[in-house]
């Protein structure tokens, strides 16, 4: 594969990673919760889309329509029931709760479905296979482009919501100081629940498109979680557009690595991530995130 093609594929892959990462970023930004079950929730969403798609014989895109609200509702309930309680126990408890949740979801899916790798690409139709062929060395897959556009739209939408809408203001205020937010009438529990609902909906989108674009299985969660995390950290905690940038950097690192040798792709991504962590920029971001 040519290098240009590798970079372009990496760019598109970055769109998927950004889609995965924005929910993680949102939950951390608003609630300081690192949802270690985020990847598994995305996979759960993918399996739900699978179910609806095959049971009702519709394309996964259509199947997303009922699944998204279901997962959003699940997020709302999850926050109200489990995560809210975890928050009161200090910073360690949410890590432990979400870790437990991750194990439950992963193994629950393993029980319900086989460990076989599967894909929703076929169900999605030709869009998942067709490419826009530019020349003999560069082809842009439609689905990759769709995901990148979707990532931009979702991130842009979230950014707009945060900056311009009353609800977004409440989220920002609660993220900065939930105690004082309560003193001006903002119910933190409601803000958190809605944020979690949004986060899970974006995770479901990401999971579904992962399933359409490539393959997935019950144990895909942790891998996607690491990538999502890497995207968030590379791009800078607390910045939504940074998450897009981070995803793209990660995607390109992986595809360039793969271009050298297919076995190096994930390793290349990890090494870039570690390099960012080690860099002065990484340190500044690390200290900033704990300054709150």
């Amino acid at each position: 594969m040519s290098w240009v093609n590798a970079v372009v594929q990496g760019l598109l892959l970055g769109g998927l990673y950004a889609l995965f990462a924005c929910g993680l970023s949102l939950m951390f930004g608003v609630m300081r919760i690192i949802n270690l079950a985020h990847g598994d929730i995305a996979v759960l969403g993918a399996f739900l889309v699978w179910e609806v798609s095959f049971t009702y014989h519709v394309s996964p895109f259509i199947a997303l329509l009922p699944v998204l609200p279901i997962m959003a509702a699940f997020g709302y309930v999850l926050q109200r029931s489990v995560l809210a309680r975890s928050l009161r126990g200090g910073p360690l408890i949410p890590l432990l709760t979400t870790f437990g949740l991750s194990i439950v979801i992963q193994n629950g899916l393993l029980q319900a479905y086989s460990p076989d790798v599967r894909s929703l690409g076929a169900k999605a139709g030709t869009i998942s296979t067709k490419s826009w062929v530019i020349n003999s060395r560069l082809a842009v897959p439609y689905i990759g482009l769709l995901v990148l556009v979707l990532a931009v739209v979702v991130l842009g939408g979230l950014q707009l919501t945060l900056r311009r809408t009353p609800f977004g203001r409440e989220m920002r205020a609660t993220a900065l100081d939930p105690d004082t937010a309560a003193l001006v009438g903002i119910p933190a529990w409601s803000v958190y629940a809605k944020a979690t609902a949004i986060a899970l909906a974006t995770a479901t989108l990401a999971g579904a498109f992962l399933a359409i674009r490539s393959t997935f299985q019950p144990s895909s969660g942790p891998t996607q979680l690491i990538f999502a995390f890497e995207a968030v950290v590379i791009g800078g905690l607390g910045s939504l557009w940074g998450t897009l940038g981070g995803g793209i950097v990660l995607g390109i690192a992986q595809t360039i690595g793969a271009n050298i040798d297919p076995r190096y792709s994930i390793l290349a991504g990890h090494l870039v991530f570690l390099a960012v962590l080690a860099s002065p920029r990484g340190r500044i971001l690390a200290s900033r995130s704990t300054a709150r």
């Binding site: 203001r169 003193l183 009438g185």
Partner: protein, 238 residues
């Protein structure tokens, strides 16, 4: 008409008993000043009244309804607003956003962004400035304005002049005085006795979590309050 009724309120601050059996009332339209040394329990008490801090015993009644267990954000809906110690503005939000976010769920009332800015003219040029870039006085004005956006029936202000330059305090008190003149019910914590007595109808002095003096400002001298402040008086609450 009694707006706020506090009965035998107890509250802890960590392992310490910060508020130890405080009882008092506030009538509609009154201005009450809470004075006392640092650590006497004034802030804890205000926070408990606002619902930001749990009461370990006793009761709080607002408008003749028991609100002791009601969470903070719901007390705001009932009409209680607290301007917290240290201003606590939302740093990354602009002045206008700070005001808007408080006003979103507010009951209908006289306070809007426009009327708040009119009441605190220093804020006019600052509407789009980030709260973290404001001076102390500007922050205090914004914080009071933010509390007003909820259209409260009872406004509580914790440490009005803490950390502010005298000129800034003057400006804040100018706005506060007109607020008080318009008939609002205000409870304020103020370290500066002269200022406190200049705006308040009543003074309550707190020492180590208990009320040691409660009197109308007209009928009591600064010396008396000072003695109570430092615990030189043996009297309890009237």
């Amino acid at each position: 008409m009694t707006l706020l009724e506090v009965q035998d309120l107890h509250a802890r601050h960590g392992l310490l008993q910060a508020v130890r059996g405080v009882s008092f009332t506030v009538s509609q339209g009154e201005t009450v000043a809470l004075v006392g040394a640092n650590g006497a329990g004034k802030s804890t008490m205000l926070r408990t009244l606002a619902g930001a801090h749990p009461a370990s015993a006793g009761s709080v009644r607002f408008d003749d309804v028991d609100i002791t267990g009601v969470p903070a954000h719901r007390r705001v809906a009932l009409g209680i607003a607290l301007v917290p110690e240290g201003r606590k503005l939302f740093a990354d939000l602009t002045v206008e956003e700070n005001l808007l976010v408080a006003g979103r769920r507010a009951k209908p009332g006289p306070w809007t962004v426009e009327t708040v800015v009119a009441a605190f003219p220093m804020l006019k040029p600052l509407r789009n400035k980030k709260a973290s870039q404001l001076s102390g006085g500007e922050q205090q004005a914004t914080s009071i304005g933010r509390a007003l956006m909820t259209n409260p029936r009872l406004l509580m202000v914790d440490e009005v002049s803490l950390g502010l330059a005298p000129i800034a305090v003057d400006a804040v008190y100018e706005s506060l005085t007109s607020l008080i003149k318009s008939g609002s019910t205000v409870v304020l914590v103020e370290q500066d006795l002269r200022r406190a007595m200049s705006v308040a109808d009543r003074v309550i002095c707190i020492l180590e979590g208990k009320i040691v003096l409660e009197a109308a400002t007209a009928s009591v001298s600064r010396e008396l309050i000072t003695e109570a402040y430092f615990g030189l008086r043996a009297q309890g609450s009237t």
